[in-house]
């Protein structure tokens, strides 16, 4: 890069290839200089963010920097929670900065923060303003629109929500068609309902429930996206609509408890639906199945001689402190050997899908050296495991894509824990 000869320039930005409104401005035509001298410390941005309900704690940061080394985004980019405060102090408006969309709300910063600066509350509060002001990355906007219209982020037909049932190989009670009282209301979730690999997990779940004689039903086309990640991405209004609709649907049926496939639904139902009048007993499926282990052990018929590593979902582990149930299930499988990645349990590395990250990969690409899921897949491969076990529906699709992207196809297979249990129970349909 040519030396500009300006001693007051901190950094020079220049894209080799850039097109602006159809005009080629590659190379020096788009060169920009960053001011070197700090002229002012503004309090306006900090006052605005800390004035938002939920944004208060941003003003508490005393710049110790403990958060940055454990921030999964900082590992692959420049974003870091401490820096969010520092940039605000310099007058850089978080509401118009890419930083606003890079946090995955994985909570690892809050875990180590001595001042309890809470990005899990700050980010949704700030994003809500950006959403209201109409500044949302287009791919996320599309997800909001799909969810509002169809009740799922993919924009699939609500009528197809329970189509996976046809190939489950076992009977599944769909409550709108057969509204009998059940012990368990299984909230399937959007990805297990529609994503091809998610559907594999849903079918495995149905078979395992059937084998255990669980008395359960699903909501079929009446089930809507839980909305937790929508809320964290800033669309609180849409979250409220979804929560109220789901609560109304839950109330139509008689059941003792809700079992969820995914940790994000778990978070929504446990921590946020009660604020809208919907208090239910809710369990993640690994928590529901762990007490069945004595029976499962007797029922396992197939040895799975695999080396497996497990990825802690942020919203099951750090957010809710559940690290053991998934591991107990895995370790009960005959022949299976569990190896841990260096970053596991409390310090588990985020897959990048939380807090709206699931729908921002295109946006984030400009600010990250690699996707968080790519990074995590490399860590999994380094353990020597041949299977990366997961129990969050966001992860199968993210990690399978990253296995290919990182050139590890054939070395590592991504499977939901429920699929492994299904296989050990001898299901002929298990892969």
């Amino acid at each position: 890069m040519p030396k500009p000869g300006l001693d007051k320039v901190d950094r020079i930005y220049e894209k080799d290839v850039a097109v602006l409104e159809g005009m080629d401005i590659s190379g020096h035509w788009n060169r920009m200089f960053e001011q070197r001298v700090v002229w002012d410390y503004s309090t306006d941005v900090l006052e605005r963010i800390t004035g938002l309900p939920g944004g208060e704690s941003l003003g508490w940061c005393y710049q110790c920097g403990k958060c940055v080394p454990v921030c999964p985004v900082d590992v692959v980019g420049d974003y870091g929670p401490r820096k969010v405060y520092r940039k605000a102090q310099l007058g850089i408006d978080l509401l118009r900065d890419p930083d606003l969309w890079l946090c995955t709300t994985c909570m690892n910063c809050l875990r180590v923060c001595p001042k309890e600066v809470n990005m899990i509350e700050i980010m949704p509060a700030a994003r809500e303003v950006a959403v209201q002001e109409g500044r949302v990355p287009p791919e996320l906007q599309k997800v909001f629109e799909n969810t509002a219209r169809y009740g799922n982020p993919m924009g699939e037909s609500p009528r197809k929500r329970a189509e996976w049932v046809k190939e489950a190989g076992v009977p599944v009670t769909v409550l709108p068609l057969d509204p009998r009282p059940v012990d368990v209301l299984w909230y399937v979730g959007s990805y297990p309902s529609y994503h091809p690999r998610g559907k594999d997990a849903a079918r495995a779940m149905a078979r395992v429930f059937h084998a255990l004689g669980v008395d359960y039903g699903i909501l079929g086309h009446e089930e809507k996206e839980d909305g937790d990640s929508i809320r964290l991405a800033g669309e609180k209004g849409l979250f409220e609509v979804l929560a109220e609709a789901n609560i109304r649907t839950f109330r139509k049926y008689t059941f003792n408890r809700i079992v969820v496939t995914g940790p994000h639904e778990y978070n929504a139902f446990k921590n946020f639906y009660p604020r809208y009048g919907g208090s239910f007993d809710v369990l993640h499926y690994t928590q529901f199945l762990a007490p069945f282990l004595p029976r499962l052990r007797e029922m396992f018929v197939k040895e799975l001689p695999y080396t497996v590593t497990f990825h802690d979902p942020c919203y099951l582990g750090r957010h809710h402190g559940e690290y053991d149930a998934p591991r107990r299930l895995l370790q009960a499988i005959p022949g299976l050997r569990l190896v841990e990645m260096p970053r596991c349990r409390e310090n588990g590395y985020c897959c990048g899908g939380g807090g709206g990250g699931m729908w921002l990969d295109g946006f984030s690409r400009d600010y990250l050296r690699e996707r968080l899921s790519d990074r995590r897949v490399r860590e999994a491969v380094e353990t020597g495991a041949e299977i990366l076990a997961v129990c969050c529906p966001y992860e199968v699709s993210r990690f399978e894509d990253s296995v290919k992207a990182t050139g590890n196809d054939g070395k590592l297979v991504v499977r939901d824990i429920i699929e492994l249990l299904d296989e050990a129970l001898g299901s002929p349909r298990a892969t």
Binding site: V38, Y41, T43, R86
Partner: protein, 356 residues
């Protein structure tokens, strides 16, 4: 006067507390103060709220002063200096001189407590980079304190309330060139306390603190620093300024933002220099008259033998407060209590063995 008395030199917080303590223990006390009033630096320099606790300095000092002046065991000598001393522990003959008229008397005491305190660093003394004597809007913690007490916090140049004020920490402390290598210990807390008071009195004024590292030991962290940042939105910037330049009717503060590694040049209406502590003139003088060892900075040296934080190099003479080095009020009052106890014990021991 018999040798069962204790002489306390200095009528500030340390001296008053030592006098009250010794008198409460039953000793007779002679309290000597060079100024024409008791209360020491908090009264002389018109402190606002005390650090920590935020109580009104004048009220607290008046209460303490009243307890001493109304105590039947205490005699107060204002406008009086210590000019000579003979004898040893249990048997000192100290010559006192009246300021002004030169009359003197000799008192016979068994022990002495030195509580002659500190003075604020003069920021114009050796380095002129902050322009303390050039720019009216560059002031010190001391002047800010008096304005805050008067509830009239304004720019000296205009008489109007400022919109932007910054503190520069460590002025006169932690500096080999100046000769004050020590940390003055209280300035981080006092700057943060004043920052809170400024935000209370002038809510539209933005307050910045430029620091090397914030030294908010113990409860000052949660009682002063955290509220200053969290409730009062005081902006802490790591990196102290090097120089101040007048720019129009504002002050351009130049330094480095060390966490960014970039130069900073920010405009302020007022700059408050967080000046540290130096031994007072009285401390240097009394040390010489009483033959007490001073450390390289001029404070009275505490030998630190046998965990005795109030001992001096002379048996029977004790030190309390900032005469022994930078101290906050809690340290000062604790030392004063310990010094009173040791001073009375010395007197009693001498009385029990008249030969000694």
């Amino acid at each position: 006067m018999a040798n069962d008395a204790v002489l306390v030199v200095g009528g500030g917080p340390a001296g008053l507390e030592a006098a009250r303590g010794a008198a409460d223990l039953g000793a007779r006390v002679v309290l000597v103060e060079e100024r024409d009033h008791l209360g020491g630096t908090p009264i002389f320099e018109r402190y606002a709220a005390l650090t920590h606790g935020f109580q009104d300095a004048e009220e607290v000092m008046e209460r303490l002063t009243r307890e001493v002046t109304t105590h039947p065991n205490v005699q107060v000598r204002l406008l009086t200096r210590v000019v000579g001393c003979e004898g040893s522990a249990g048997d000192f003959r100290v010559r006192l001189a009246k300021v002004g008229d030169g009359t003197s008397e000799t008192v016979h005491v068994g022990s002495i407590v030195v509580a002659t305190g500190f003075q604020h660093f003069d920021p114009g003394r050796e380095t002129q980079v902050y322009g303390y004597y050039e720019y009216p809007d560059v002031i010190t913690l001391v002047e800010a304190e008096a304005m805050l007490k008067a509830k009239r916090f304004v720019r000296p140049s205009t008489g109007q309330p400022p919109e932007r004020v910054c503190f520069i920490q460590c002025v006169g402390s932690r500096d080999r060139q100046i000769g004050n290598e020590y940390c003055s210990k209280v300035c981080c807390g006092i700057a943060s306390k004043q920052a809170i008071e400024i935000r209370q009195q002038v809510p539209n004024c933005k307050v910045y603190i430029f620091y090397i590292d914030m030294r908010m030991y113990g409860y000052w962290e949660n009682e002063i620093y955290w509220p200053a940042q969290e409730q009062y939105k005081v902006q802490y910037i790591k990196g102290i300024a090097t120089e101040i330049i007048q720019k129009g009717d504002k002050l351009l503060v130049r330094g480095e933002d060390t966490t960014l590694g970039r130069p900073m040049e920010v405009l302020m209406d007022m700059v408050i220099l967080s000046v540290g502590m130096e031994p007072s003139k009285g401390t240097r003088e009394v040390a010489r008259v009483l033959g007490l060892k001073q450390n390289k900075y001029g404070f009275i040296e505490v030998p630190h033998e046998g965990l005795d934080p109030v001992a001096t190099s002379v048996p029977g003479i004790f030190v309390a407060g900032a005469a022994a080095g930078p101290k906050d009020l809690d340290d000062t009052l604790s030392m004063a209590g310990a010094a009173a106890m040791k001073a009375v014990a010395t007197v009693r021991r001498a009385a029990a063995s008249p030969a000694g």
